[in-house]
Symmetry: D2
Subunit: 402 residues, 4 copies
């Protein structure tokens, strides 16, 4: 039972609980509960079919064993008043030991690790954490969200991920093709936990795990949260298309100084990240933009305050050229944390509604929306928003009927 007499009903178990996004999300739910925050930045605040924000409670894994108040202080996202108000709750949140693999994410390290070695032993440890969380807090459901730093990519034709049977064998064999993100996703699905992948890492989108999500009847979504620059791209590109302004080139530069930025200083992780950013533009415009360049640079003075700078070369009527430039001084965690919360609320409704497998209605929250059977994803934000609201309306109606 929490402080205002309501029992939390749904748990959110976060991979990377000590990170800036997760601590901001946990603090945010607490500040909402205390009446210290309004609904700014929460796109689904008015949707009645979703559970209230204070029905949710956080837990999770991290390679650092700092409690979340300590972590939040380090991230510098919350202001002094917010830290003071959410502090007592955050102080009680201490991450479970995590699995981490330097082969998959080089620049981030930490000592707070699961002792078990071997894939199966690690899966058991994660499953045990999830079960304890559910029992101790008396939860109806636990939702797993991956907010860890991006891992290196995995080849699309990796046989270990091709189907569930191969994956199980690869687990037994402690295959080096299987990294932490896949382990967490597998454990979550096996435990019947809805799963969201907010990172670009390969996880529930692997065919083997999709098979598992269908088999277990669990809704999943991902991947790579759409927050800053890509968000703007999916807002602006449809407008350019609407006016037939041709995009000759789009140069995107990002600078950020938080743990994500540091992780991206590793070339393999960067490649994985850029992969999810790439196809958005062509998909919306309907043609290939050959000169679409995306760069990400680690730049410490900015901390969690990300800065995106875009310059777009346009060709208009009679072949004449124009330029549009964007400069977004944004806050990574402030943009991402409310999406994490809304994704969890929607997955909870999906689970209650009996949905399983890929939840395409959540595609608007992701840079690389998962789709079934190789279907092309919709990237234009306004169409994604329409699809989400149509699903919510239908689900709400179904909930009322039921």
């Amino acid at each position: 039972m929490n402080e205002n007499g309501h029992s939390p009903q749904v748990g959110i178990a976060v991979v990377g609980l000590g990170g800036a996004v997760a601590t901001t999300a946990a603090a945010g739910v607490e500040l909402l509960r205390l009446g210290h925050a309004d609904h700014a930045g929460l796109p689904l605040a008015g949707v009645e079919a979703l559970r209230d924000y204070d029905a949710f409670v956080f837990a999770g894994w991290d390679v650092s064993d700092d409690d979340l108040e300590t972590a939040a202080r380090g991230h510098g996202v919350l202001d002094a008043e917010q830290l003071a108000a959410a502090g007592p709750r955050l102080r009680r949140l201490r991450p479970w030991p995590a699995i981490a693999d330097p082969e998959f994410c080089r620049n981030i390290d930490g000592l707070h690790r699961i002792e078990a070695s071997g894939h199966r032993a690690r899966i058991d440890a994660i499953a045990a954490d999830l079960r304890t969380f559910r029992t101790e807090e008396g939860l109806e459901r636990v939702i797993v969200v991956n907010l860890a730093s991006v891992e290196r990519g995995i080849p699309a034709d990796e046989p270990a991920l091709a189907d569930l049977e191969s994956f199980e064998r690869a687990l037994d064999a402690d295959s080096p093709a299987i990294g932490p993100a896949l382990i967490y996703a597998y454990a979550a699905l096996r435990e019947g936990c809805p799963y969201a992948n907010f990172t670009p890492s390969v996880a529930a989108d692997a065919p083997a795990l999709l098979e598992l999500s269908e088999e277990m009847g669990v809704p999943v979504c991902g991947k790579d949260g759409k927050t800053g620059q890509t968000l703007l791209k999916t807002v602006i590109a449809p407008g350019l298309r609407a006016r037939s302004l041709e995009v000759e080139g789009w140069f995107s530069n990002n600078i950020l100084g938080n743990r994500d930025g540091l992780a991206l200083d590793d070339a393999d992780s960067l490649a994985s990240k850029l992969g999810t950013k790439g196809s958005v533009l062509d998909s919306i415009l309907g043609y290939h933009v050959e000169d679409h360049v995306v760069t990400i640079n680690y730049y410490r003075p900015r901390g969690d305050q990300k800065e995106a700078w875009d310059t777009i070369d346009l060709v208009g009527f009679l072949g004449q050229k124009m330029q549009l430039k964007l400069n977004f001084l944004c806050r990574d965690s402030i943009l991402a944390a409310p999406l994490v919360i809304e994704i969890a609320r929607t997955l909870d409704l999906a689970a209650r509604s009996g949905e399983r497998g890929i939840q395409t209605q959540l595609g608007g929250f992701f840079k690389a929306p998962m789709t079934a059977d190789g279907q092309a994803p919709e990237h234009a934000l306004h169409r994604q928003e329409d699809a989400l609201h149509a699903w919510l309306t239908a689900a709400s109606a179904a909930a009322v009927e039921a």
Copy 2:
């Protein structure tokens, strides 16, 4: 008959034919006909129900009697090759004398004026021009488009515009409340010509003239073409709303050095222009942005190359602030001219389909879309685009059936 053997079928009679937008539109249709331009910047290029671009022919009025090649050379919009290719056609286009009234637009002047004095005499002169145009070119239809410099505003409760009867009396009395834009619109409607108002001036949106458009069975649309900064506003604001990012303030600065910029250096004309820019944001966001500031400055070095700079103050999750800045280096006429052409093509289809009165499906091309009976206009570009395409699909189907 034009050079490639097709007869033009529809005339576009422009108020302000010598301006940068009109000369670019006229040159553009010619360059398309010659195969010297592709469909960049033309949003309805693929719509089959619309007549081909080379079915249209330009004429119109201007206070300068320069032929359009001379005018185009002065505007500096077309490049040398384009001027050379379109030159022979443009040279043959020489504006009819215009009406102009320094009481309504102070900073722009010219000597090429209709000699007739008095409202009725001027209307007769305009009507005669329209009839001659139709006859001499063997046109099915003439569409009138106002591209003149913005006039000062007219009070919303001006009795002379309240209904058609009052307007007719005010015309008889040579009322000083009636300016050139109203005279042109009245003459067009009386002649049965579809009418589009690409300027912020009061014209077909006056109740008296709406009554006339219904009575004459003529489609009308307006007002104030949505090209640069306001276009971006109606693309970006829906995206901010979709993420519940609150707009604390939006500062918009425009600098431009063409004839429009000079006209706007007159405070009354500027007030009229800013009026049509103002409500867009509140309408899309669903709340009042108190600190929405729009400035327009005449700055000669830029010529027709407009520059917009916006800075947007956002409040996100947990009340934290972010900034988004836009810098649009655009070309006024290159953005506007194709819209003029597409509006004319759509009005032609509307007329063929028997539409009369306000054409709301064209709202996406205007900063202040006209709506019937005080209905609130839709400003979000993607919704306007959906509405236009739905109308085009229906009209196309009807055309096929008929």
Copy 3:
């Protein structure tokens, strides 16, 4: 005697003590004394001939009677820790009643006024404040700095300011040509107080007052502190000149939301402000830039955080065009306050060195540097800096000798 056992030696009496710049300066000196601030932003920190920062103590006049802690809290310049540390000192600083005249500054008002009416009575009240300040704090010297909101301009040929005799007669006659800034400056000079004008208002630069400063043997300087956009102009323009890049146009836009911004919303005050900004560019470049446009807009969301946006049109080799754009997200008071402190320290040294009249070596701190006998001022920042350091070196040498 202040808290660390040193007696303050020099007073700084500020016109507009409750404003953001003055409260920041007063807090800054206190934070330096407490060791809570380093020398960032203080250009003369290493100059030995100048007195230490903790030799200075603040007092002054304001139309608001809020103590400086209350004022600082309202301005939102200091962070929570700084407010806590400087609070006890700021709380004891309460402005003396001020003179204010709505004829000279319309948008700013307050009730904390000197009761005396008539120019002479007001001068007596100001002089009494200065004398009391000196006596009670046991000060060697009091320096007066004008930091009030800008007043409307005064015609250059106003006879009342032409010479000291005329000015005295105009004072006797309570001439409406004499506004508060002149009253304060006159009182300061009569009391033998060095005087700095950090505002664009006409004050010690009037011929009558220059005559008085010479007669009284008092050093003066001004006017209009060079902080944000004009500072950058005087840094960048010399670089453009060095490369013979011709400035075809320079468009400068400022948005700010503090009390200064509000005052500038009055057209007369704005004209006065723009006047001091105007000639800088031509003077540095050596030719007239016809398209030099400066705009200032009041925009509340930014508060004390000023934003300047400049776009510069350049012509390079072979007449080819380029653009340079600047976007300065700066803090008005953070840039201005340390200059106020350094100006006071330098005026103190000047007074000790026996200097009188205009102190041209301080020109680099001002947008419109005062010069003797109609000499053209130097505007290039690097030359101004060289001149200041040459003077400081000479004055230091003289001080050592003496």
Copy 4:
């Protein structure tokens, strides 16, 4: 004898004659001669001691054998009128075959190569070109300027470059440590030709070649022309230092789409380029800026129109943060070509004045100014400018006396 009856007196032999900078410089001198260009962008236009622009004539080497009119057409720097006017002259300029080494510059290639193999044979070929140029055009002097694409760096302790004797032995042994830039510089100096290195490649700055320049009595200068972003850095950083605004970080992003940009897409060449950009900031500010990041990206839509975007994090009074952003839409060749011309004119004067070795007065034209004996170079543009003008004044006086 050229067309207006003057004989050219000084030759400029360019390594990379077909590049955008060299063709623009050659065209520029021709357009100046024809009166088709004014002195915009030419910083030393008014210096009387320098020879007139039309005293100079171009020739040089390139891996492409296109004549310069063809090359200029491809670079897209000159407008149609300029191409037409300079065309006849440019058409007659056809590069000599060049030496090129894919080991030193991977992304640029061409077939127009000196057939000679071996270092000594290549040096002979270059020397023969220089002698023929001088004789055929009847020139007093030939100046060699390196404008080729940047080569990969050479380790600072490479023994082959340590002194002239080692270098001669390495030449004899066809050492792979010696790349094209060194070969050209050696040949130039041996022929007594003043030499300027406008690229970041290691050339006359190698100790061996400095020894040779002293021995031969030849003036040299370099390296890496200071045109766009670094130019601005050396203009703005001194202004920040003057106000004690601390630079916490400076992020510099460059996008360009010309041949230089393509060459920089090779990591080794990029490293070499970034090396010359790096130390500028620390040197001017007087402290180490740890977060100084410079990126360069190849982005085709921009062609020769380079774009630099900088964001600077500043710490001001009381530790408060501010940001300054620069966006420079510039033209690489338009900025560089006039510097090449002015460097040649100054080297000519230096040679006439009997100067030998490093010409430090030319440091302002370079990102990494060469200095004697490990002295730290001056980077602040205004000090460099003062030094150059002081030297010119002295040299002019000496010339008058002589």
